[in-house]
Symmetry: C2
Subunit: 388 residues, 2 copies
């Protein structure tokens, strides 16, 4: 097991109607907050009204900044930073999914920083402090509600980049599975895919031994595989949603990578897809991951066999590990197809023409992607060609 430091300070408030507690949680940190969200869906659903009623009751003022898009943009982050400085904001409250939360985290680290917030995404600087962030989660997917990461896209050059910092953990996150009942099914499928991707990225490691965290990841994957079709079949199934929502948080709260180094090449590759084509992150991952798996399969066949047997219940062909491993990948593809994902680039509207460009951006300056098998530019091209 690798040495590690782990501390996740996020307070999770989980259950029916918990958005009514947001005022009390926010009041611990601030008298005035930035209410940060995406489009109009939280107004239509009545969530905006319930959240602001709770803030009012707790005596907390707020300034609104809506308009966060999927693959959140740097320009809105800059606007948020200016607003927070001008309005002397004490807390950023994201109401939404990963995009609103990632954007809120970017604002939070940007406010006390004298330089350009993009520095954190290029690795030029590391956050040393941040405004506190709270969240009301509406889409189980990104896991950002209890994670240390943030992903933002810079419009010039369509660069999608991430940073991780202990300062980026939200102080509290409110999880009410009922808020998921009205999500579009396509978004749910993308969320399920993203959760599974977070687990698979952690699973593929060269660290040893990782028996305990392997088993925790497998347990979480099996849970998602069990409940995901139930959620899609019956969108008001609170019980199934509660399992999926909590699993989505634990999948990405850094417990499951304690003592091990994850891979994350598939996320990096997908960032190049959704940076240029603006496809949904989950949809991109469903295309990239199976291709990536086939490309790196022989690096550690045993790991693929273990995944196939323990997670997918594949009947192990003891004398033919490769067959077992490939059957595991086929089951993953079958599962993602069953929830409506396309498995190849053309299915998400991407042809072969900009593969070289994406690989060039992804591996700019000789950067290699991933840790399980570090991928150079030619490898990224090969993975994307396998995905055609």
């Amino acid at each position: 097991m690798d040495d590690f430091i782990f501390r996740n300070p996020t307070k999770i408030v989980f259950g029916r109607g918990t958005e009514s507690k947001v005022g009390a949680e926010a009041a611990v940190y601030a008298k005035k907050l930035l209410l940060h969200f995406g489009g109009g869906s939280i107004r239509k659903s009545g969530l905006h009204a319930r959240v602001t009623a709770s803030l009012k009751a707790a005596g907390v003022e707020w300034v609104e900044l809506g308009g966060v898009k999927p693959n959140p943009r740097l320009s809105l982050v800059r606007e948020g930073i200016e607003t927070c400085r001008r309005e002397k904001i004490g807390l950023i409250l994201a109401v939404g999914g990963g995009s609103a939360i990632d954007s809120a985290k970017a604002i939070a680290v940007g406010v006390p920083y004298a330089g350009d917030v993009w520095d954190f995404y290029t690795g030029k600087a590391e956050p040393r402090e941040a405004l506190p962030v709270g969240t009301v989660l509406t889409i189980p997917a990104a896991g950002s509600e209890a994670s240390s990461g943030s992903v933002v896209t810079k419009e010039e050059g369509l660069l999608k980049r991430a940073f991780n910092s202990e300062h980026a953990y939200p102080r509290f996150s409110i999880l009410n599975p009922e808020l998921c009942f009205t999500l579009p099914k396509e978004q749910v499928a993308n969320g399920i895919t993203d959760i599974m991707a977070h687990l698979l990225e952690r699973y593929f490691t060269n660290s040893r031994p990782v028996e305990f965290t392997d088993r925790l990841i497998e347990a979480t994957l099996r849970t998602v595989i069990d409940v995901a079709p139930r959620v899609l079949a019956q969108m008001k199934d609170y019980e199934a949603w509660s399992e999926l929502m909590w699993a989505g948080t634990v999948a990405h709260n850094n417990l499951l990578n304690t003592g091990r180094e994850g891979d994350w090449a598939s996320h990096d590759i997908e960032h190049e897809l959704s940076g240029i084509y603006d496809v949904a992150h989950g949809a991109g991952l469903a295309v990239v991951i199976p291709a990536w798996m086939k490309y790196v399969l022989k690096h550690d066949l045993t790991r693929f066999v273990q995944l196939a047997v323990r997670v997918w219940g594949v009947d192990q062909a003891f004398y033919s590990p490769e067959r077992t491993a490939r059957e595991g990948i086929a089951r993953l593809e079958g599962f993602w197809a069953s929830i409506g994902q396309a498995l190849r680039l053309p299915g998400i509207g991407i042809g072969p023409d900009r593969i070289e460009e994406m690989a060039g951006k992804g591996c700019e300056g000789g950067r290699k992607l991933g840790h399980f098998v570090p991928l150079a530019r030619a490898d990224m091209v090969a993975v994307l060609k396998l995905a055609l």
Copy 2:
């Protein structure tokens, strides 16, 4: 899934030689700390010297309070509270296992409290604040290094009682698996049993649905079952120790009971055994739990079947769930016997003569034990008789 609030703020510093970081971690909280530990083993092993060297290097002063016994005593807690007040101590650093840590937590909540610290253990009061606690863990077992609980024994009446409070989470815990290499094997077996007991107490619940946390608990149990014999066979197996140590922490850090109500009757019953007879907690649990399981088996046979199949790999007799369930219990007994545990009361030096007295104390004032099946006094007597 039950509604829940979860926040575990403990910082885990895990790996080889990490005790050398204790000074830097402690200096965040205090210039002067109480160094709290048990007998002389930490001096013999050189751990005391390494910890104090690290404190010195970080400019942290300390006052020593050794002498914590297994089943830590209230009188020493009172002494610690006086010392902390007199010496203006800012942090309590426990170096040891669950007893030293539980005693440290008791001191921590006692110092700022005007009343009697025992009030927290009787439920007469709840802690509202506490001195910070840090730990250097030497025995994976109690899970107290990242838990919200503390168990202390009051000498008058030999009352062993517990409290839980968010103020009882340590601020940091240093986990170096190498520190376990020199533990007596009997203590290791008791630690393994205690870890498994923490998992089983959480497993037996009436909450629904609990698919995700069921699977996480099963994953942790399987890990312990896998690595425990390896640790006992080769006491310097760092890799196996690292898995066991981290699993022991996660088993009890409250993640695995999110959204579910555990049972805990077996712990309560065992507290009466070790309160009177001063047997090791783990040894007591190995006797109580199988008897408890047989007593409550029919309350939810399916849960026992699931445990048998998923954790012990029992070949399920689909038409005879009781046979499958009982086979699961037999496997647990076999496993505990294989690591050297006695499975019946006489094996730990306890006869039938004080069973009524223990049940009287455990169920004093009509108190019922556990949640899966709440046990009255007559039930506790029956469980203990099954353990004879």
